[in-house]
């Protein structure tokens, strides 16, 4: 491949790629993101390859292994082009039928289509599926059309056009102005205006300057950066090169966490291809601008996703934050001016350059422009990655896109913003997804994690979970964070163990208040959010744990007991055989009884008892009813035998 040396050559190259492609040739796009990988998409891909070879269709059908289109709940996702037929939950055994019916016969297989749970209607195309209908997918919409390992796919969709526009039609100052004007705010959590950051880095004295992509997505429950990096790495790269041109940088870093091996692989391939095509290296597109980029893998530390800590990690040091009164845009990597943005922020740049700030500003709310990718997970029907315009209500995200809560459970709260975010209860469901509005509720936008919780989630347990996580991840450099978290963890451990005391809630509030003022970096200053918001909205649950020694959600092991309802037990032996500690007594046609003194509360009996029998109960805050008398434990043949068990 010869490097592209001008804007005109780029157009020729793009036309060349398009002319070689037959738009009517069938193409099978299969999601091979990490989500579908976990569901076994590799076996589906091999099955397609094998079937195509077997039927001698090798040159008549293309196969594309793509990034994540977001609907992870229904993976493996397969889309048949040119029609765009959307198949869900595809298994290897469906493959021969897809080839013979859909590819050859041009017929749609009903069974593999999306069925709307409320109307029962089938959806053939992406646009008809409720999950996608209410989204605005500017950043991840192309994922299913792109093989991330092939730069030509990105070019065919107009890729690197924004870079050419920036290099040949705009000065660096104009690029910065455009980004400033668009009011793009950092998607990594802080929400700081990207254009202002760029400007202060450009104006900072000192050479060289560095630009950095932060893909150290450590928030548990969040995977939007992973999907972009795996699925469309060139969009991030293009944004980064434009940013480098704008701030006057010739060297960049992409910091990817090691837990994302596929993202590391794909971005490395993307860099190599971009070099070959002339988008990286010396004299990019013949413009005279030089820029190189190196991938750094993170070695597993949540705190090193903090911007100054990440820069320490790039220098090969321990990833601990630096004091924040020195701006990294002035003194970052090796004390040189450094501009760091999150993956999603960078991916927005080509869109803004191509379409202009005015267009970008037309999407979203007064203070938050554009779209936001959210990872919608937890107790929600349609889990996955969703991209929505800023300003959409939480209710629409959870119920219209997410399809509501599974089972007959009731919505309880939604946790936004990762471990340092907060918990938002039902009465605020009509609040918009917006940086400032979420902050008002005591939570944060963060990087866009959205964990839905139903009535079976204990708020004290969840607060403890986050504090436990943060406690492990706190680097220990500053006292308020290190000691504050440790004390909070101890208090919360006591509360869930049933040894909480009066005054614990107030003490938690006091510690949290101190941490939020005096900690060194954002990890510490926001670490109290999960505790303070759960206290603010679910104080009664804390009080139930402390005063009544009761866990209302029936989660905290020390406060619950498992109990077999003798009126419902059919003596089917399932729980008895699965109990790992032999704590269940009973036999065939003899009602089972849990020996409370031996029970370790592992919950396996509860999980294995068939739902239509539902004999195993969890109780809390009340004594376990005494077991039935020996003579009452015999079940006569025929009596209370339930079909199918």
């Amino acid at each position: 491949m010869e490097r592209i040396k001008s804007n005109a050559e780029l157009d020729v190259q793009r036309q060349d790629i398009l002319s070689k492609r037959d738009q009517n040739k069938p193409c099978i796009a299969i999601c091979s993101g990490t989500g579908c990988l976990a569901l076994g998409c590799n076996r589906v891909i091999s099955a397609f390859k094998e079937e195509i070879r077997r039927q001698g269709l090798g040159d008549k059908v293309d196969i594309k292994e793509t990034g994540c289109p977001g609907f992870c709940e229904k993976g493996t996702i397969v889309v048949i082009y040119p029609e765009g037929i959307y198949y869900l939950q595809v298994k290897p055994e469906d493959v021969p039928e897809i080839i013979s019916e859909t590819i050859k016969g041009k017929k749609v297989i009903d069974r593999l289509l999306y069925t709307d749970p409320s109307t029962g209607e089938k959806a053939i195309y992406e646009s008809e599926i409720a999950f996608y209908e209410n989204q605005k997918r500017l950043l991840i919409g192309n994922n299913i059309k792109i093989d991330p390992k092939n730069i030509e796919d990105y070019l065919a969709l107009g890729g690197y056009r924004a870079l050419a526009k920036a290099l040949f039609e705009m000065t660096p100052e104009q690029v910065i102005e455009e980004v400033k004007e668009s009011n793009l705010r950092g998607r990594g959590g802080g929400g700081f205006p990207a254009g202002r950051k760029w400007k202060s880095c450009r104006n900072a004295p000192g050479e060289p300057k560095y630009v950095i992509v932060n893909c150290d997505e450590g928030d548990p429950g969040a995977f939007m950066d992973r999907a972009l990096m795996e699925g469309n790495p060139h969009s991030v790269l293009e944004g980064l090169i434009i940013g480098a041109y704008a701030v006057g940088s010739h060297e960049g870093f992409i910091y990817v966490r090691q837990e994302y091996p596929l993202a590391v692989e794909n971005v490395n391939i993307a860099i190599k291809q971009a070099e070959e095509y002339g988008f990286l290296g010396e004299n990019i597109l013949g413009s005279g601008f030089d820029f190189d980029v190196v991938v750094h893998r993170g070695a597993g530390a949540f705190v090193s996703g903090e911007s100054s800590a990440l820069m320490n990690a790039i220098e090969g040091k321990v990833g601990e934050p630096r004091p924040k009164y020195i701006h990294t845009s002035e003194s970052g990597v090796w004390d040189k001016p450094s501009n760091l943005n999150n993956v999603e922020t960078w991916a927005n740049i080509p869109l803004i350059i191509n379409n202009g700030a005015e267009w970008f500003k037309s999407i979203g709310t007064e203070g938050s422009k554009g779209t936001k990718i959210l990872s919608l997970v937890g107790k929600v029907n349609n889990t996955g990655l969703v991209e929505v315009p800023m300003g959409i209500t939480l209710r629409d995200v959870i119920f219209k896109i997410g399809g509501g809560i599974p089972g007959d459970k009731k919505f309880k709260a939604v946790q936004t913003g990762g471990p340092s975010g907060g918990i938002i209860p039902e009465q605020y469901l009509d609040s918009p997804v917006d940086f400032d509005e979420l902050t008002k509720l005591g939570s944060i936008m963060g990087s866009g994690g959205m964990v839905v919780m139903d009535e079976g989630t204990c708020m004290v347990d969840i607060a403890r979970f986050f504090i436990d996580f943060l406690c492990d991840e706190s680097c220990g450099k500053c006292v308020p964070c290190r000691e504050g978290l440790d004390q909070m963890r101890e208090i919360l451990n006591n509360i869930v163990a049933g040894t909480g005391e009066e005054g614990d809630i107030e003490l938690l509030e006091e510690i949290g208040g101190i941490m939020s003022i005096f900690s060194l970096c954002a990890l510490g200053t926001t670490a109290d959010n999960p505790v303070l918001t759960t206290i603010r909205y679910f104080r009664d649950e804390y009080e139930a744990h402390i005063k009544e020694k009761r866990c209302p959600a029936l989660v905290c092991n020390d406060l619950i007991s498992y109990y077999i309802d003798p009126a419902k037990c059919t003596a089917c032996m399932l729980c008895l055989n699965n109990c790992p500690v032999d704590a269940i007594d009973g036999g065939k046609r003899k009602i089972h009884v849990i020996d409370q003194s031996n029970c370790t509360k592992c919950g396996i009996c509860y999980d294995v008892c068939p739902p239509k029998i539902g004999a195993v109960n969890k109780i809390s805050g009340e004594p376990v009813p005494p077991p039935p008398r020996e003579e009452e434990r015999q079940i006569k043949r025929g009596k209370r035998e339930i079909e199918g068990v």
Binding site: P220, G221, E259, R297, E315, G316, K317, G319, V377, I462
Partner: protein, 150 residues
């Protein structure tokens, strides 16, 4: 201890402190842990103090200063997996292998770790064994999964 392999890894990066974490990650994946000989070798070649290399190797979770088992089990306890019962999966694995999180079985077959999010939250609870993702794991399925590996 094969120091040639260590040298080869060191050679593949620029000889500067900035490469330290990257080459430690490579040594980790080559040997499955960071042997002390490797630390000494990096010290000699890069002129970075042993204390500093040790500090990095002990700070980052992926790097291990003790040998780990043939199969690495990582049970995800990210938020999404937590609310879907991840802790019970971890308990069950501990129970099956008779080890605690962070430990290795005496036959060096399994090392058990907890991990804070593997990014496939839609499939929680998730358990990763080596490079195989197991999604929607139940306590009943844990034993079947462990039996796949020898």
């Amino acid at each position: 201890m094969n120091l040639e392999k260590v040298d080869k890894i060191i050679d593949s990066y620029p000889a500067e402190q900035g490469s330290l974490i990257q080459l430690l990650l490579d040594i980790q994946s080559e040997f499955n842990w960071i042997p002390v000989e490797a630390i000494v070798r990096i010290n000699e070649r890069l002129q970075v103090p042993v204390s500093q290399i040790y500090r990095i190797a002990s700070f980052y979770k992926v790097l291990s200063l003790a040998p780990i088992g043939r199969h690495l089990i990582q049970v995800c306890l990210g938020t999404a997996c937590h609310v879907r019962g991840g802790p019970k999966i971890l308990d069950k694995v501990e129970d099956c292998l008779k080890i605690k999180t962070g430990e290795t079985t005496s036959d060096m077959k399994f090392t058990l770790r907890r991990v804070n999010c593997l990014g496939c939250c839609a499939l929680g609870p998730v358990m990763l064994v080596d490079n195989d993702y197991h999604g929607k794991v139940t306590t009943v399925k844990v034993k079947e999964i462990l039996e796949i590996y020898d």
